[in-house]
């Protein structure tokens, strides 16, 4: 798999969150330390250290950190909004399903029973089969079959009285709302930050670290101060990475709205 494809990094979402956080920190701090040993002596060849050179480097770093911090902050907000919108889609779908279940429960028998169990079947599929697939970044396919089965059976009902006509029209409208929300959920399975954002973030982190290599100070102090900055960068990257995929990782959407609905369907 191509390393620049998002799917090639999905395995990282299977790492427990604390360990993944440590892994990000270790990679960033390790990179900084390694650079301090290998790259720093080379960089120092190009900088003529005088009394105020650390001040100048510090000033440049501060300016850079403001822009980079803003970028990271905005990207983190975007990623969170992405997760949040996907969560709203899931809730909207479960709510539409719930309303649909109530509507079909008012149909005469055997239509009501047959339509109810088809909706239960759909909900069960979403919880048991679709969700684990989404958590692997795969768009589940068989839910469409269950939705089509429900629609087929819904169309078999021929309203015989004006109240039944009103109920049937409302149910069909509700079904369309449900379909819309369902499609939105499926679209959000693979919604994530564009690759260009990741390039900018990673390049920015490298530049940030490279500027730190330019400081003229005791080696141990440099390792410690730069290490702290690199560790924080790692934590931020981990946070954004975790929110990057709405259904993957620690900060992800659960099937709870569907589970609550399914429990209510079974009780009914």
């Amino acid at each position: 798999m191509h390393p620049f494809q998002p799917e090639s990094w999905y395995w990282l979402y299977d790492v427990p969150p604390f360990r993944l956080s440590l892994l990000f920190v270790a990679v960033f701090v390790g990179f900084y330390w390694l650079g301090s040993i290998i790259v720093r002596p080379i960089l120092r060849q190009f900088v003529k250290y005088t009394a105020g050179s650390n001040d100048i480097i510090g000033y440049v770093l501060s300016c850079f950190c403001v822009f980079y911090g803003l970028l990271l902050g905005l990207i983190a907000v975007t990623a969170y909004q992405n997760v949040s919108e996907a969560g709203a889609n899931v809730t909207r779908e479960a709510s539409a399903l719930s309303a649909l279940y109530e509507d079909v429960s008012r149909y005469p028998e055997p239509h009501a029973q047959n339509l109810r169990w088809l909706l239960r079947d759909y909900t069960r599929y979403v919880i048991k089969y679709a969700w684990p697939l989404q958590q692997r970044g795969i768009v589940p396919q068989e839910g469409a079959i269950r939705a089509a089965a429900f629609y087929d059976r819904l169309l078999e009902f021929k309203p015989a009285t004006p109240p039944e006509e009103i109920l049937h029209a409302e149910t069909l409208r509700q079904f369309n709302t449900f379909l819309e929300a369902r499609q939105m959920r499926l679209y959000s399975v693979n919604s994530s930050l564009p690759a260009s954002m990741w390039y900018v973030m990673i390049l920015g982190a490298i530049l940030n670290i490279a500027i730190c290599w330019l400081f003229d100070m005791r080696f141990i102090t440099q390792l410690m101060l730069g290490g702290i900055l690199a560790a924080y960068l790692g934590i931020m990257m981990h946070l954004i990475f975790d929110m990057n995929q709405p259904f993957l990782g620690d900060v992800s959407i659960t099937a709870e709205p569907f589970e609550t609905l399914y429990a209510r369907m079974e009780d009914a």
């Binding site: 427990p16 360990r19 055997p110 089965a149 059976r153 390792l223």
Partner: protein, 436 residues
């Protein structure tokens, strides 16, 4: 005392490297146990296919088969999977269209399905046969059918006429059935009803049951207008009806019978393709008192069945029912599992070899045995009288399971099958449609 020497950069690197290595050695096992970064191992999987119509006229019946097969697979997975692998089911929709079955069959086989469960009508089974025979993969077919077929690539889990039609005729002609004399045959116009009725006619011609056929009629699949046909039944003087009508058409048939005030005590209708699932679409008042012939009814009063029914309804809802084709579908999944375990492999040849060692499974309807010669299963014959709660009173059951015979000699002389030896032995060609 000389002042302590200031550590050089080299000392710092050496010390730092040593400290880093020591820390890594100390922390690594805890942080990244087994070099797996703590990633839970993902179970190895094996794929099976399901060919069921989840939309269209056959959906109501066939969807239940998908559900019971999923239920069986979920149970196997929960118990640790099969040969250490999690079973993943692919269930594309065949949309009640016969021409879609081969396409979907190829789709699941292309996805490396090691076995496929499914098909409802004989037409769909016959349509996929070449696909499975070419792929040398097994199809597990759970529905009762007409016999007169054998394929090394199919395991037949439903009843064949010698397990369903012939015992029904015996019952109708006997004391329990009221010594019926005149039988009317009604069916949907496709291979199963025509072949089943052919076997019935040949058996009645050959046997001394005292029952004769006074009429035979077929209606297109899906047809619901039965008023003319019911008039023919009444005009024929029939005192019993063997009904091989399939699918939604039964709604129309029983509505017409009720409209004509046909009394089930005087003219009982014994149906071969009506079970609890189909009764959900028929008004109980129209069908109460008539009969169905099968190998299983939900009302079967055994602890094994009650536990099975409870398990299914707990998982899929308490308004769901279990019925005849579902029981064989459940048994077939478990027979496949046993065969795989015996073979220690998912390979078709090894599984078929395991069939020869004798496979049995205690299903909800009783013990079933897979006959390696025919690749069919033994079956209890049960006759149920329809109640007003859309369930059955079991009024008759065979004392022992009946061995399968896909080629009853009374109808297919000279024909036989033995997959442990030479396969199919062909007799004279039989023209089933000839004297209809």
């Amino acid at each position: 005392m000389p002042p302590a020497a200031r550590p050089t950069r080299r000392d710092a690197i050496r010390g730092g490297a040593a400290a880093t290595l020591a820390a890594a050695r100390a922390l690594a096992p805890a942080l990244f146990a087994g070099c797996s970064l703590g990633i839970p191992p993902r179970a190895k999987t094996v794929t099976v296919g399901m060919l069921h119509s989840q939309t269209g006229p056959l959906a109501m019946s066939a969807t239940s088969l998908r559900d019971i097969e999923l239920h069986a697979i979920e149970g196997i997975n929960a118990a640790g999977g099969l040969l250490g692998r999690e079973i993943v089911a692919l269930a594309p929709d065949t949309r009640s269209k016969v021409d879609l079955f081969p396409k979907r069959a190829r789709q699941v086989l292309d996805a490396d399905a090691v076995a496929v469960f499914g098909c409802w009508t004989s037409a769909s089974r016959k349509a996929v046969l070449p696909v499975f025979e070419a792929a040398k993969t097994l199809l597990f077919y759970p529905v009762q059918y007409e016999g007169n077929e054998s394929s090394p690539s199919v395991v037949y889990g439903g009843m064949v006429p010698n397990q369903q039609i012939l015992p029904t005729l015996d019952w109708l002609a006997g004391a329990a059935g009221g010594f019926r004399k005149k039988l009317f045959l009604v069916g949907s116009d496709y291979v199963f009803p025509r072949t089943a009725n052919y076997v019935a006619k040949k058996a009645l011609e050959a046997g001394a049951r005292g029952l004769k056929v006074v009429g035979e009629e077929y209606v297109p699949l899906g047809d619901r207008d039965f008023s003319g046909l019911v008039r023919k039944i009444l005009d024929s003087g029939a005192d019993c009806v063997l009904n091989t009508v399939n699918g939604d058409s039964n709604v129309g048939l029983f509505a017409a019978l009720a409209e004509a005030k046909v009394d089930p005590a005087k003219i009982p209708v014994v149906s071969t393709s009506i079970a609890e699932e189909e009764l959900r679409s028929i008004l109980p008042a129209q069908v109460k008192g008539h009969y169905a012939a099968g190998c299983y009814f939900q009302s079967l009063d055994t602890p094994a069945n009650q536990s099975w029914v409870e398990g299914f309804r707990r998982e899929f809802g308490y308004d769901r029912v279990t019925d005849d084709p579902m029981e064989p579908a459940w048994c077939l999944v478990h027979l496949w599992k046993r065969a795989v375990e015996k073979a220690g492999s998912f390979d078709t040849a090894a599984i078929r070899q395991a069939f020869c060692e004798g496979l049995e499974f205690d299903g909800p309807g009783g013990r079933v045995r897979l006959d390696p010669r025919t690749q069919h299963t033994t079956k209890y014959f049960r006759l149920g009288r329809i109640r007003s709660d859309r369930q059955f009173d079991i009024v008759h059951a065979s004392p022992e399971p009946i061995a399968p015979d896909p080629y009853p000699q009374v109808a297919f002389p000279g024909w036989s099958v033995d997959w442990t030896k030479d396969g199919v032995t062909r007799g004279p060609e039989v023209d089933i449609h000839g004297d209809v």
